[in-house]
Assembly symmetry: C4
């Protein structure tokens, strides 16, 4: 144990959205980017919140020790085979078994050219 | 009461702006995205600040327990029927009856292609 | 004294840049957006930091009580008549006489379409 | 010693990416923008984290007293001559010998027009 696990265990992202349309070199996508500076692997657990339905759970990922994992939300599949719905506003609680740092980034190519959103989660 | 209401009760957004022009698939708009992870519904109250006039109040919204609400500012109507003025710089204080997390996002299509601004409020 | 002055007195913005080129409906510009929720006017003082020269001072602005001021950096003039240089990387310390909240926003139209950067200062 | 060194010594950036393609007036690039408000020069040390390899060290830079340094990641060379790989997701820990403030900014011109990402590191 030589490397300190920097950050915290819970991160919140109120504005998530997976656009329905792609256009150009980049595919429209969102990423939850996790940085694990410590020496213990991180088990990541997502709770998805919606406007008109109960939260969904069962979406998980890993970020190994001393690694980053740029988790593409469009490729995330829940334990029972569900993907993230496109074109629906949602929000996320990201829980990690060890302290990590989480950034949310969105890349939208709906209107042909590229638009970015990037922020450190709360 | 099983789910912790994460976040805080007051959030500030200094740079709000509802553009006057739309162009393309997306309509220019701002959203105040609220995430309520707790088991009690949130009553949301907006105070709008301007450059040359007293603050405006009377704009309200709800974010139910375990839900997100992506509040479109262009659709917000005050108790006495006022909408948000377009093309005028303003700022916001967002007050919630229970702890929530607030993100501000702007989508501008004035110059045909898409431009994003997204940030966790202070 | 009824309204609490929310925020703090010092804010830092490491990446400031006033582009040299405009294109389209919007003019390329930066804004330091101040929100003063309290009942006392705020005197704002800018210190500009550069890569190869001592800091510049003497740039001031006001944000009245219960107002926002979206300070356009391209229109800011120092006490001795200096404007902000275009095309040069710089950074800012924003000091206020009372607690305020500060957001930095950049709008770049160099390559014809609009690009945004927006963040709460540190 | 008259000027307070504002900020902190460690900053984290989970989502870094140096695009493979340029297009237009701007070159696609990332910058780690450091602001040193104090009277002692800052020695900056980067640790780069990847998805499938051990962290890389040996990338260093300086930010002199009372200066800003907008460190272009595409020009950063490690002590043993390595540059930052293009087109690969990575993350960064930025360590400074004195307190500083760090902002991460990305400018992407892959799809001809400009897209910005800007945030205060964690």
């Amino acid at each position: 144990m030589e490397n300190t696990p920097l950050g915290k265990n819970e991160w919140l992202i109120p504005d998530a959205f997976y656009p329905e349309t792609d256009n150009g070199i980049y595919v429209s996508h969102e990423a939850v980017c996790v940085l694990n500076t410590g020496d213990v692997d991180a088990d990541i657990d997502f709770t998805l919140y919606f406007e008109n339905a109960e939260p969904m759970t069962g979406y998980t990922a890993k970020c190994p020790a001393r690694r980053t994992h740029h988790i593409r939300m469009d490729r995330l599949v829940s334990n029972d085979g569900k993907t993230i719905p496109r074109g629906v506003p949602y929000a996320m609680l990201v829980k990690s078994s060890v302290p990590v740092v989480v950034q949310y980034s969105r890349c939208d190519t709906t209107q042909r050219e590229l638009a970015f959103m990037g922020l450190i989660a709360y």
